[in-house]
């Protein structure tokens, strides 16, 4: 596939790794923010190519993972209603709520459907006028424009039976929250390429400058990640702290302004609770006032549902880059992808799930 295969070239990867080995003279901790990047790093064993001085820690950029438990409970409640068709991306179905997951709701007879795109939910709403069609709108800035378009198009088509259960979160506030934590040990960030394809990289300039931390917007292929790490290491070794864009083939400074504009129209910025991290001010989106009639939480009266997290799980510390999965007493014992206890095990993009899948049960290079 064009623009995929080139960036998986093993020979170039080993040359980049060699370059990195000669570059690094200190110990540095670099966080890749996005769960998709974590997955690539584990899948291709990229950490094996890194010199001892570079430690990668895995950030909070898996939206499935950070969706709060109480929102899963709200989804389960709504999906169990007899006149509802509950639609979602596939990776939300196995995330356990306090009582059960959406797959169990489906097994009990609930009409739960996995969709490729939120626009598919509009087709279902059109052909099922006697049902209420709810789409579980989870995701970062990459996904928000798609869900914004679905709501906007629903209003344009006059659909009155389409609703959004909205749990959108945004990346810059969580990077700031990680950097503000007194125990923070992250020295540089690989910023998420597809979030930046939508939002542009200008949002990250003030963070890099304010906290004096290198930030490199990075793609998702092995060579992208290695180059992102090389660029971070070069800045760290030379005492620089600036924004760089490694993913120039898809990302520019201003981003996709058409997408940003519709997101602004359909959503308002709001405080959001992150599973494992807690409440982060102004870190997500909710439907704006003109679109309130499409808000499933309001329409189905589930705004006050609350839930209790597992006391054993250390996902909050993992999401901040302070601990690794094998440092959790429950990892691969009580907590597995089949029976996840918390945020970082619930999705295949979660750090614990990636470590479990690729057999990372023991410390890595003594870390």
């Amino acid at each position: 596939m064009k623009y995929l295969d080139e960036y998986r070239d093993a020979e170039v990867a080993s040359k980049l790794a060699n370059q990195l080995k000669h570059l690094v003279s200190h110990e540095w901790t670099i966080m890749e923010v996005c769960g998709g990047q974590t997955h690539t790093i584990c899948q291709y064993g990229l950490e094996e190519l890194l010199p001892d001085g570079i430690e990668l820690v895995h950030g909070p950029g898996c939206p499935v993972c950070v969706t709060p438990l109480e929102l899963i409970d709200k989804a389960v409640t709504i999906a169990g209603l007899p006149d509802v068709i509950f639609c979602s991306f596939g990776d939300m179905l196995r995330v356990p709520g306090s009582e059960c997951d959406l797959l169990e709701v489906k097994a009990r007879g609930g009409d739960v459907r996995v969709l490729y795109s939120p626009l598919d939910a509009l087709k279902i709403a059109t052909s099922n006028p006697d049902k209420k069609v709810v789409f579980f709108a989870v995701g970062f800035e990459t996904t928000a424009p798609a869900n914004a378009m679905a709501v906007w198009q629903a209003r344009r088509l006059g659909l009155r039976n389409f609703f959004l259960l909205c749990s959108h979160v945004t990346v810059p506030p969580v990077i700031s929250a990680i950097l503000q934590a007194p125990q923070n040990k992250v020295n540089a960030f690989l910023a998420p390429g597809h979030v930046c394809a939508v939002m542009g990289w200008r949002e990250y300039e003030p963070i890099s400058s304010h906290y004096q931390v290198p930030i490199v917007v990075t793609g998702f292929e092995p060579l992208d990640l290695l180059e992102g790490i090389v660029r971070c290491a070069k800045q760290l070794e030379s005492g620089e702290a600036k924004l760089e864009n490694q993913y120039g083939r898809a990302v520019n400074r201003l981003g996709n302004q058409g997408a940003q504009s519709l997101v602004c129209e359909v959503f308002d910025i709001t405080d959001r609770a992150w599973r494992g991290l807690g409440l982060i001010p102004k870190s997500g989106y909710r439907l704006s006032f003109p679109f309130r009639d499409y808000d499933a939480e309001r329409v189905f009266g589930v705004e006050t549902v609350t839930a209790q997290e597992s006391p054993v799980c250390i996902s909050g510390q993992i999401l901040r880059g302070l601990k690794k999965p094998h440092q959790c007493p429950a990892f691969a014992r009580q907590c597995t992808p089949e029976h996840p206890l918390g945020a970082t095990m619930v999705s295949s993009e979660g750090t614990c799930a990636a470590y479990y899948k690729f057999g990372r049960f023991a410390p890595w290079k003594g870390i």
């Binding site: 623009y3 040359k15 990459t142 597809h194 898809a250 996709n256």
Partner: protein
């Protein structure tokens, strides 16, 4: 979740007032909303996330970056070779 796949636009069309395209992902074809990439034309590569084109891939930049990576790797290797101390 933020997975986005590059695909090539085969044909543009309209559906319920939305700009759409048939996009080929290495042989698999899917209808894709083009509202956020309105300037893209048949033959262009786009990055597609949950059925929406979010970015037109800059082909020149993709090729330039790959070539630069190959060269930078080669240069690093050349420098490393130079650093090997001569046998006494």
């Amino acid at each position: 979740m933020c997975l986005a796949i590059p695909g090539q636009i085969e044909e543009l069309f309209d559906n319920d007032g939305l700009k759409m395209a048939r996009v080929n992902f290495g042989g698999i074809r899917r209808a894709t909303c083009m509202e956020y990439a309105p300037g893209a034309a048949a033959g262009d590569y786009v990055l597609v996330h949950v059925g929406f084109a979010i970015s037109v891939i800059n082909e020149a930049e993709a090729a330039r970056q790959y070539e630069a990576l190959k060269v930078s790797g080669d240069l690093a290797e050349a420098q490393n070779t130079l650093r090997v101390p001569e046998a006494e």
